[in-house]
Symmetry: none
DNA sequence: GTGGTCTAGACCACC
DNA sequence: GTGGTCTAGACCACT
């Protein structure tokens, strides 16, 4: 899997990294049980500090998307991903809401938004 | 219009304020040409720092959503809102993409996402 | 409140710090809404790195025992502490179980264990 | 006796192993004088490293819970378990203290804690 | 001045 | 070799 980071971005590097790994899992590029690179090797590969990689991994672990074994390293949760719960849905809503508001403000129609969403969805999802 | 800020949120206050004003305009609660409170009065009303309000206003001005006159004060852009351009659409995409990815990862279907979007859209838009 | 750290201990410093703050809240020495020292000042006071203090604070925040505001600093959760839920009870059980087992092995009676627990309880709780 | 290890746990494997053997002795499943599997066979049985089993055994030997003979193999101390001394009690206290503190913080009463302790005690002890 | 982020470099526990 | 912990020092965003 290819990781692309924008060092000029306003988003913290660890957030970008987290997002990319999430997308990797969502797309099927990373299968449950599959191993991820070690903190150190990934850090050196993409030229960032190991703590930054570690922070991304810790966040993914917190969400139960990956497992971190002290010695064996890091693997995608072999039991599959946790289903969306109420908390998750609420967080999604609160994050997407301002985007929709600004879209409305600039004259984007509901249909156009749905189309954009569908396009991104299809881009990510393997099938 | 009522401004609700969550001082515990991870979002900077100026961002929350910006979002709320955008939603106010999108919903029609704030009409083009309508006056907004002065930096000073708004800051004092909601109990935050002058600079914070000012930063929010500057961001809105940058997007051409509002006009700031030295004497006449602050008004919603009387000529209406700028239409969505390519740059705007790109930004929207890059912001919504990780949300969709995480939704896919947790088993949310495209239809469910669209429904959520439609619900939020209807909540904001006056009709 | 006085913080005592044992740099020779097998417990990570941030764990010791976390425990001490928890005990401070439990004992009433730190009341809900009360401010805690800033990351930097506490670090310098007890002579450790600010990242170590930060890690302790982040853990307490994760449990909703404290709130961290970007600028205002750190305060004990003003709404009081979260009640014990199933997850918490399970964790407690799994942590206390090996201690009880070793106590049994060395001939400590149930009554003696309860007495020890009561003594510690009274030591901490203000009442 | 059945050994159950959680490879995902934050606890080192040797600690889990140590705990399980201690609980085995405490419960009477392992009687004084009874033989334990050799380092080699236990390691192969549960699929872990030799060194890990060895470390667990060394710790148990240090506490005088087991004896390790070069030829005869490993046995539960035939003279019975050492009684709780001051050092042991102190260690127990310092380990249980943060658990009690967090319980208090989350509103667990002394009685509830004692009940939990009694329940675990009865679970382990044969009666 | 506050916390957030990132880097660099070190030692340790575990297996 | 793996992740866990700790330190030191830097810059930034926010108020």
């Amino acid at each position: 899997m290819i990781i692309e980071l924008d060092m000029q971005s306003e988003l913290p590097i660890y957030t970008q990294l987290t997002n990319q790994i999430i997308e990797g899992i969502a797309s099927g590029a990373l299968a449950p049980g599959e191993a991820l690179p070690s903190v150190r090797s990934l850090a050196s590969d993409i030229g960032i500090n190991l703590h930054t990689v570690n922070k991304a991994y810790q966040l993914l672990k917190q969400e139960d998307y990956i497992h971190i074994h002290r010695q064996k390293g890091v693997v995608v949760n072999p039991n599959g991903m946790p289903a969306a719960d109420q908390e998750f849905t609420n967080k999604q809503c609160s994050q997407i809401r301002p985007l929709i508001a600004e879209g409305i403000l600039r004259g984007v129609t509901l249909q156009e938004m749905k189309d954009m969403m569908e396009q991104i969805y299809d881009e990510i999802k393997p099938m």
